[in-house]
């Protein structure tokens, strides 16, 4: 499907808010792709980490907010470590998650998982899940 590139959507309020929360500029990124090359979690993502920034640059934040990528991101900071322009992508991911949680989206209820699953689940998954849980309160 062809997307209309809209001058009014570029630098819209939600994108400004993401930048403000993360204290990062998305326009600093020149799309070299090193973050995507470094990220260990891309096989599970439906949008590359570099594309998250790219969509924000083009004013297509709706796509970013519909993607699973920010939720797969484990904040391991590989992306930030390798970035030649000093963009902290993990902070942008966190800001995207935060904005969704504030709207009551993407919440999870730890108690809804059965005990056997929780015992099987990797610790890192538990930690991220608790982050989300805690950010509710």
């Amino acid at each position: 499907m062809r997307v209309k590139l809209d001058g009014d959507r570029v630098r819209n309020d939600r994108i400004r808010k993401v930048e403000e929360i993360a204290d990062q500029s998305v326009y600093r990124c020149y799309q070299c792709g090193k973050c995507s090359a470094a990220c260990p979690a891309t096989p599970e993502m439906d949008m590359l980490p570099s594309q998250v920034i790219r969509y924000l640059q083009l004013g297509m934040d709706d796509k970013v907010f519909a993607a699973n990528t920010p939720w797969i991101c484990a904040s391991c900071l590989q992306c930030m470590t390798v970035c030649p322009k000093g963009v902290d992508l993990a902070r942008l991911m966190e800001a995207i998650r935060m904005l969704q949680l504030r709207k009551g989206q993407n919440q999870i209820e730890i108690r809804a998982f059965d005990r056997a699953y929780l015992e099987r689940a990797p610790q890192i998954a538990m930690i991220s899940a608790y982050r989300k849980f805690l950010s509710l309160s």
Partner: protein, 586 residues
Amino acid sequence: MNRIGVFLCWCGSNIAGTVDVHRVIEEVRKLPEVAHAENYMYMCSDPGQDLVKAAIRDKNLTNLVVASCSPRMHENTFRKAAASVGLNPYLVEIANVREQCSWVHQQQKDVATRKAYNIIKATIEKVKRNAALEAIRVPVTKRALVVGAGIAGITAALDLADAGFETVVVEREAEIGGKLRRISRTFPYHEPADAILAPRAEALRDHPNVTLYTSSEVTAVGGYVGNFDVEVATDPGDGGPPETRTEKVGAIVVSTGYDLYPVENLGEYGGGRLPDVIDGLAFEGLLADSFRNGEPVRRPSDGRPVRDVVFIQCSGSRDPENHKPYCSRICCLYTNKQARLLRDRNPGCRAWVSFMDVRTDCKNTEEYCQQNIEERGIVYVRGRVSRVWQEGDRLRLWTADTLTGEKIELDADLVVLATAVVPAAGYAEVSSLLRAGVDANGFFQESHIKLRPVESSTRGVYLAGAGQYPKDITDTVAQAQATASKIQSLFANEELAQDPLVCRVDPDLCSACGICVPICPYGAREVDALAGFSRVNEALCEGCGACVAACPNKACQLKNDSMVQVVGEIEVFAAEEGEEDYTCAC
């Protein structure tokens, strides 16, 4: 009776690792007329050259064969060494036993040894008949002529004039300044182009050593390096016939500049059909208007201030299938600058750039571009626009963003095509008049891309500016100054020494048929009707041998490469090698 000296170089193990250098020298010593033969580890080194010099002196050698690497490497080295002890340098020949022997037969030592011996023997056959030649000396007229008075020509002319040399400048337009006159401000400091051009143009017009011909063209060129006769025709501007005059100069600068590839050739973008689809220089004009009258940038069709402008880079460049295969080099930077200046002039407007890559190969320009993207809100969309059409009173474009994989539609008020840089109209005529070759795209060809970047294929004809290849003002000025320096080193000589390895004609054999005249790529042949034979202009002849091959009477011969010498070399091989094939070493 010749007393021939043979010097075989080991080139470390390059030659000696494959060729049995001791056996070869033993055999060479047995050849008639060989008075001396020896080998050494590095003959080109100072001790090696000393061996050569000592042998020439001590053994009264009359001709030399140095068996070593390609003559391109060290022919000059050994000729100079011989000359330093009084032996005519043209009595020295190189036998190439490295590139043409040891390197290609590394697995076949016996074969390589025999071949090295035969190459040396054949070269001895040649050097026996070498003549002692003297360099051809021609006087130098210390005046220069510059064709084209853009910033390249102006810069070269001013440097030459400041160095004290009379300089003639020929400009076909009524005004000097070239394309710089059409540019508003320059990257990366936004200096007005006029602030760069005006003082230089004025200096040129006022310089006592400069003769400036505007509305003029070069119509004929004769002569050769140091001694050109250039006919200049000036349009008197009253409809009358052009006034012509002839200028005698020693060097010529080709600074004919560039044009932009016509937008009409880019049909898919509506070039030439849609009034709001324009090229980069036309947009410079809109920017200049905006700066002059203090108003926003307005579009051509209805004069409305523009809100959305799409800049399309690589319009006709990097498109080997349909347009030009090369990168035009300046468009990335001027497009970024134009988008930035537009954002300054039209608050609230949106600047979109369609790009494949952003190439910022000039000083401080990467930082400049990045800053404009980060802080000045220019949006870059990575993909080539596929089409542009009119939709109501706006333009609609289809493109893609390959970074996300999205197909994209955009609406714009104005589309600026950064069209390919092409050689200025008339380059072909200038090329043929000056015999300065051009490449497949019509850009003037430098003698060597790394080592002789401002010399054309014809000696005495030099290059500056975008006529050689697209370049920005910085690089143009640098190249023009390099050209002026090269010409100053030419003018530092009272006369020029030229290699005497040129063609000569036997007047008794020549029937003045004239076949040699059109075949000569250097214009060095001319039939002297009165004398009844075809002459060689030795200052122009490059010794290529085209006329030698073409002459039906065998009246042309190359000096020290005569037919007798070449056949003599072949006969040595034919006798020694017979039918055997040693070409395949691998």
